[in-house]
């Protein structure tokens, strides 16, 4: 057991840290909380990704042959942590870089790799996912969008929901049912669909925070060429699960840094409000510190295990529950400490941090739902880690 970074890891960290220090746009921290149109914000983030791409940082985890940096898992973790530490803006093509690019690398044909990967890295083409449907959320394999073969095209009809970035996307990783006559997991196919195709409609979905992070997608007789099937026809479940595996991977590394920053900020506010002498407040803050530290330890352990053995251990499966429930408790605690100030929203001159705490409280409600609900996560632990019989 050795938690010190190796000389190579240290050198990598210093290189990353120096690059972010010199290149993170100075206006981002202010701009982050400012009002601006989604489109203007998106172009800003696209320019930022382009800058990272030009410097060779856009696809750190991707193999070198596909334009990435071929970073080891530990280097990826360091990169994500440094990015969070530097308060760098997110990259515009988050899903393309994190989920869909790796899926194309794993399952795609050479032609697909050549066609799609470079433009994912450069943010020239933005990607979204068409997975969940109104009647297929946790039970994803029950999805009903159909892909009917017509010569060298699939004709797609159906509706997708909880889609992020659909309004900005050029392409969509789309899961459809291509064989309704077999067991539900066996008749699915993953298509790479052009969002500019006739018959694609995108409607923003307003969420409880007032934002529209998500969209609904409607497909009406949309033609997708068979050459855009990724993996094999009717083998889409395996491909989709490959994508979701990435979703639960290194994502948490940056969260831990952000949580610690939020904690530090909350302590400042608690001091400012002269509340840190209150034994109850001290208990609550110390509990938050504890949980954030335990999350950090869990992550170090999980990444280290994957690095050593290539497979996640039991500590990996608990991460999603841990960070989501932690954040809900933390946001609630922040509200208690701030008293009446916690509820003040963006636009109130008296709010702390331009209303970020009221927003954070509302937004944290989504944490235990997105990327697999806490209930589904506990099912996964029960069945796949503890070996209990499947409940459904």
């Amino acid at each position: 057991m050795d938690l010190n970074l190796t000389p190579q890891e240290l050198a990598f960290r210093d290189e990353v840290r120096a690059w972010f220090a010199a290149n993170v746009p100075k206006d981002w921290v202010r701009r982050r909380n400012a009002e601006e149109s989604m489109e203007a914000r998106f172009e800003y983030l696209r320019a930022w990704q382009r800058k990272m791409f030009d410097a060779g940082w856009a696809g750190v985890s991707w193999p070198r042959e596909y334009g990435g940096r071929g970073a080891s898992l530990m280097e990826q973790v360091i990169f994500i942590e440094e990015m969070a530490r530097a308060e760098a803006p997110p990259m515009a093509n988050v899903l393309g870089l994190g989920l869909i690019g790796p899926t194309i690398i794993a399952f795609g044909t050479d032609a697909q790799k050549t066609r799609f990967l470079p433009k994912i890295l450069s943010a020239e083409e933005i990607w979204c996912q068409g997975f969940s449907e109104p009647n297929a959320g946790s039970d994803l394999a029950a999805l009903g969008s159909e892909g009917k073969l017509d010569g060298d095209h699939f004709i797609v009809n159906g509706q997708k929901i909880w889609n992020s970035y659909g309004w900005a996307a050029d392409w969509c990783e789309l899961v459809v049912r291509t064989d309704p006559n077999v067991e539900k997991h066996k008749g699915l196919t993953v298509l790479l669909a052009d969002m500019k195709s006739p018959g694609v409609e995108v409607r923003p979905l307003k969420q409880m925070t007032g934002e529209s992070e998500f969209c609904e997608l409607f497909f009406r007789d949309v033609r997708v060429p068979v050459s855009n099937v990724i993996g094999k026809v009717n083998d889409g479940w395996r491909v989709a699960m490959g994508t979701l595996m990435h979703e639960r991977g290194t994502f948490g590394a940056g969260l831990q840094v952000n949580y610690r920053r939020n904690f530090n900020r909350l302590v400042e506010i608690a001091h400012h409000m002269k509340r840190t002498g209150d034994p109850l407040v001290r208990q609550k803050l110390a509990q938050a510190y504890t949980e954030i530290e335990v999350m950090r330890c869990n992550q170090m352990r999980a990444f280290s295990r994957i690095n050593e053995t290539g497979v996640p251990g039991p500590e990996g499966s608990i991460q999603k529950i841990f960070w989501s429930e932690l954040n809900q408790r933390f946001q609630q605690m922040a509200q208690e400490i701030m008293g009446p100030y916690g509820q003040l929203a963006h636009g109130s001159a008296d709010a702390f941090d331009e209303g970020q705490w009221a927003y954070g409280y509302l937004r944290s409600r989504g944490n235990t739902i997105e990327a697999g609900t806490s209930e589904i996560q506990r099912n996964i632990i029960g069945h796949f880690v503890l070996g209990l019989p499947k409940s459904y």
């Binding site: 938690l3 400042e268 400012h272 208990q283 335990v294 295990r305 608990i318 880690v385 019989p389």
Partner: protein
């Protein structure tokens, strides 16, 4: 960076598991806990032969000279096997003696000829060194672990207002049992009537030695708690797989399954926090002391909840004397309290972390 155990650390852990499975199965635990002192000299001697009693004692003092990670690996297996007796008490004593800058008794401790304990708590029940009020050496110490079999006792007392540590011959002190929930470890009240003791350290040196000893023992305790949680979870999961109601194993129902998932989350998270604290102590990391408290806060709250679920999942069977889960449940309660409960350690974190930050940039009001 590598969080995993090294090959030699893993071997030590595997050997410990095999050893305790053979030498201290739960039938032995039940036999030993019925004895007056919950200590078995034969088991103690074979633990000494394995080197288990001197893991962190320096080699030149007869120990193995290993670090906290190795100690945690051993303690996790001991917690899993619910090994009764004065292991932690003796660890406290040896760490305090070594922390005071002497090697007295360390070789005898490592070889199993000498058992020890630390007398800290008084009637107020606080684990803080600041709370020590007993003048040297006249008065009462309470909740002293396994003092009944201790050959040497390290005693925290006040010498003209200053904190001081003394080494006292165990047999010279009047020791009264304080029967408690955990049957595998005994608590005692000690009555010092102008007792003779050898001064080990005074002032800051005493305080540092005491805090260091408590940190070391706390990490070992957290590792034990993790092992206990692991075993409690395994028993519950096993039961959930075999017990059938309404024609199905109860582990198929999500109400049961999710309780087991929570047990895994708490157990694994306690493990991560504990090994991090062990590593931080070994490496004098700047946050080492806070890391110890993080581990104890998390493990204390978790072991109680894992115990609760462990009984609940096994239903009526879990509530019987015959089922082993209550042995772990009892130990968990004692461990939750020992060396400061979650509330105590949260306040310690507040002092170590929160009080050292300030309001410098808060704006908006």
């Amino acid at each position: 960076m590598n969080f995993g155990l090294s090959e030699s650390q893993q071997i030590l852990k595997n050997n410990a598991r095999k050893f305790f499975a053979a030498e201290c199965p739960v039938s032995e635990v039940r036999r030993i806990m019925e004895t007056e002192s919950a200590h078995d000299q034969k088991l103690w001697r074979s633990m000494a032969e394995q080197g288990f009693l001197g893991v962190v004692i320096p080699e030149d003092a007869g120990g193995m000279g290993l670090g906290m990670v190795e100690l945690a690996a051993l303690a996790e297996e001991m917690g899993r096997a619910l090994v009764p007796g004065p292991f932690l008490a003796t660890l406290l004593a040896s760490a305090a003696i070594e922390g005071a800058g002497t090697k007295k008794h360390l070789a005898e401790i490592a070889s199993g000829q000498c058992k020890g304990t630390l007398a800290l708590l008084e009637a107020g029940g606080s684990w803080s060194p600041d709370a020590v009020a007993m003048p040297a050496l006249e008065g009462e110490k309470m909740f002293v672990p396994d003092a009944g079999v201790a050959d040497v006792i390290v005693v925290a007392a006040r010498d003209r207002g200053e904190l001081a540590l003394y080494l006292v011959d165990g047999k010279s002190i009047e020791r009264t049992a304080m029967p408690a929930v955990d049957l595998t470890r005994r608590l005692y009240k000690l009555n010092f009537a102008k007792a003779q003791g050898e001064l080990l350290a005074r002032g800051d040196a005493a305080r540092n030695a005491l805090e260091r000893a408590l940190d070391i023992a706390t990490v070992a305790l957290c590792a034990e708690m993790t092992g206990g949680m692991q075993r409690t979870m395994e028993m519950a999961v096993e039961y959930a797989k075999t017990r059938k109601q309404f024609g199905k194993p109860i582990g198929q129902y999500q109400a049961v399954q999710h309780q087991c998932a929570d047990m895994l989350l708490w157990t694994e998270s306690s493990r991560s926090a504990t090994y991090y604290a062990a590593w931080a102590l070994d490496n004098n990391a700047p946050d080492a002391r806070a890391a110890v408290s993080v581990a104890k806060v998390y493990a204390s709250d978790s072991c109680r909840e894992v115990g609760n679920r462990g009984v609940q999942v096994q239903g009526g069977m879990g509530f019987t004397w015959e089922n082993d889960v209550h042995l772990y449940y009892r130990r968990a309660k004692a461990s939750e309290i020992a060396f400061g409960d979650a509330t105590f350690h949260r306040e310690r974190i507040a002092r170590l972390i929160i009080d050292r930050m300030n309001a410098r940039t808060a704006v908006g009001v």
